[in-house]
Symmetry: C2
Subunit: 367 residues, 2 copies
Amino acid sequence: MPSTPFLSGAPRPETQDGVFSREEVALANRNSGILLETLGLDITPTGAHYLLTHFDVPILDDRDFQLSLDGAFDAPMRLGMDDIRAMPEVTEPVTMECAGNGREGVSPRAHLMPWMYEAVGTSEWTGTLLAPLLKAAQPRADVQDFVFTGADYGFDKGHPHHFARSLTPDQIAELDVMLVWSMNGLPLLPQHGAPLRIIVPGWYGMASVKWLTRIDAQTERFQGYQQQQGYHYRTQSGDAGLPIQRILVKSLMRPPGVPDWVTRKRWLKAGQVELDGRAWSGGAVPIARVEVFLNGDWHEADLTGATGRYAWTGWRIAWDATPGVHHIMCRATDADGHTQPMQASYDVAGFGNNSVHRIEVHVADAE
Amino acid sequence: MPSTPFLSGAPRPETQDGVFSREEVALANRNSGILLETLGLDITPTGAHYLLTHFDVPILDDRDFQLSLDGAFDAPMRLGMDDIRAMPEVTEPVTMECAGNGREGVSPRAHLMPWMYEAVGTSEWTGTLLAPLLKAAQPRADVQDFVFTGADYGFDKGHPHHFARSLTPDQIAELDVMLVWSMNGLPLLPQHGAPLRIIVPGWYGMASVKWLTRIDAQTERFQGYQQQQGYHYRTQSGDAGLPIQRILVKSLMRPPGVPDWVTRKRWLKAGQVELDGRAWSGGAVPIARVEVFLNGDWHEADLTGATGRYAWTGWRIAWDATPGVHHIMCRATDADGHTQPMQASYDVAGFGNNSVHRIEVHVADAE
């Protein structure tokens, strides 16, 4: 148990807009975002996918690795990686986003990883569907939660725990959860959960437990920290909150022109420019429309399609760039009719901020 | 040419210790550091190697890619990737570090990418030695610089340019510069310079030009921004400065115990602990000694060896951890007798900070 004040769950420091602490910067150095210029690609290059690591990356040995299915199963199991890789294989491109993406734009800002726009990526995940494996282990009729526990361990607000999340039998039936051992055709990298993780397509990243070592069937609801305290939408501190699940509709633009190294502001020459980017929404809901704010008005972009049900959709639009400073925005609408807001509603921990993406572009006279 | 103030080279904002701007955090989100827990591995996992991208990652097509050797060569060349991959192949593990690693610890801090300890990594690079290729192109006797130009383009302090660096004929003769197309056995990833880059072993990362498209032989010294203005040690702004070259002696510790998610402070139980980490020095100078500060004194660690001349050396030491808060440090000494300082001397841009690595560890009573 914790014996020192920093682990006792003391309130996190207050923040001020536009001013950041050393702890926030240490998290930003350690965790990594997508490079927005790779938004031109269907699949995010290996190593450029966003990566958030709560605790430390465990370095696990493939050879002696075991996944246990325990608890309220009539046919509990212990499986090695050879057993698991022999199961029917499926590959699916899935867009994953951190629930905290956009936290920096929520005021007052929670003192956590200060993501701006970059905590997203799309990879081709290879593994097997989880539902048939759970069925083979014969869960009892009164199972309420399947609990997925990772090998990663540490403290969060004074609670020491292995990272663990749960899904109900209904959620398992509804979602195409995958048990995954490969990413972009390569063995899973240590930092992405090697040798085994789950992917919960269409949900924010916290559900896709890495370094999966145990699946426990429970006849009571799971009370783990990351399930019951963490990862809830809350408008006030202390609220029970609503559990975070599906990814909200969102879009990003590939920054046009060339950057200034330090400010990341963009510069280009006047004339015809093709703008492009990506849009996505959770739960396999297709993107219906992307609009781009140019020259004082919203214009509808062309959708260039997605490579899979759970993968982002490309979009593009022509722009006749005129000299001056422009603030370009993009916003997506999904088939359920949800549109990105100009400013998402407040959340205590800065979760689910799907406000429009804005980019400042400086257009120079054509020569 | 630039037409807007932000690109005109206006002075960068002043900074305050422990307080960071939004621009610094945007750079920290975009650029990525090593995960210190992977310091137990000889080779940094793909995707976990530090990555600093000055401008945007260019997405280049392998098939129509050409490297040109031009200027003061008697036998100038244009080479495709097939030509280059047919050259004699060499694989070498090389430790690379950003010259700005540790910038955050320099006071006053330069308003740039706020690295703490994490801008380092070791990969196995595969390619061909550069010197024979340059020789085959027959440089004239009066060549003063070989200039290496990348496809990446942008602004730095108001200067628009392709990233470019140079090496003299003497440096080419002395250094084992590699022309590289593969990293850790995989084709070079876009963000690491695909399809072709150089690696200058033992020098800070700025010399290892990514997305290499041209090598120009010049009969005058190269005056490019990244060579003559950027990447100099300066004790005062406006000094001519000294060019940054070799990596200074340094060591890092794998953080012991388990972390708190937000503060990254470490917690472990009292008793025997094995501490370990890595140490390196530029120019293929071996590590002579690593010392660890424990219980009020420096203790010499065991060196566990390096996998190559240009790769870091492992070290380890046993520690009988007693309850309480400890500040552990490590420092390396190389075979030239250089030892890491407690506090490196001031540099205007925060370059070359090789101060000792400090970690705060909270040790609880054993149960």
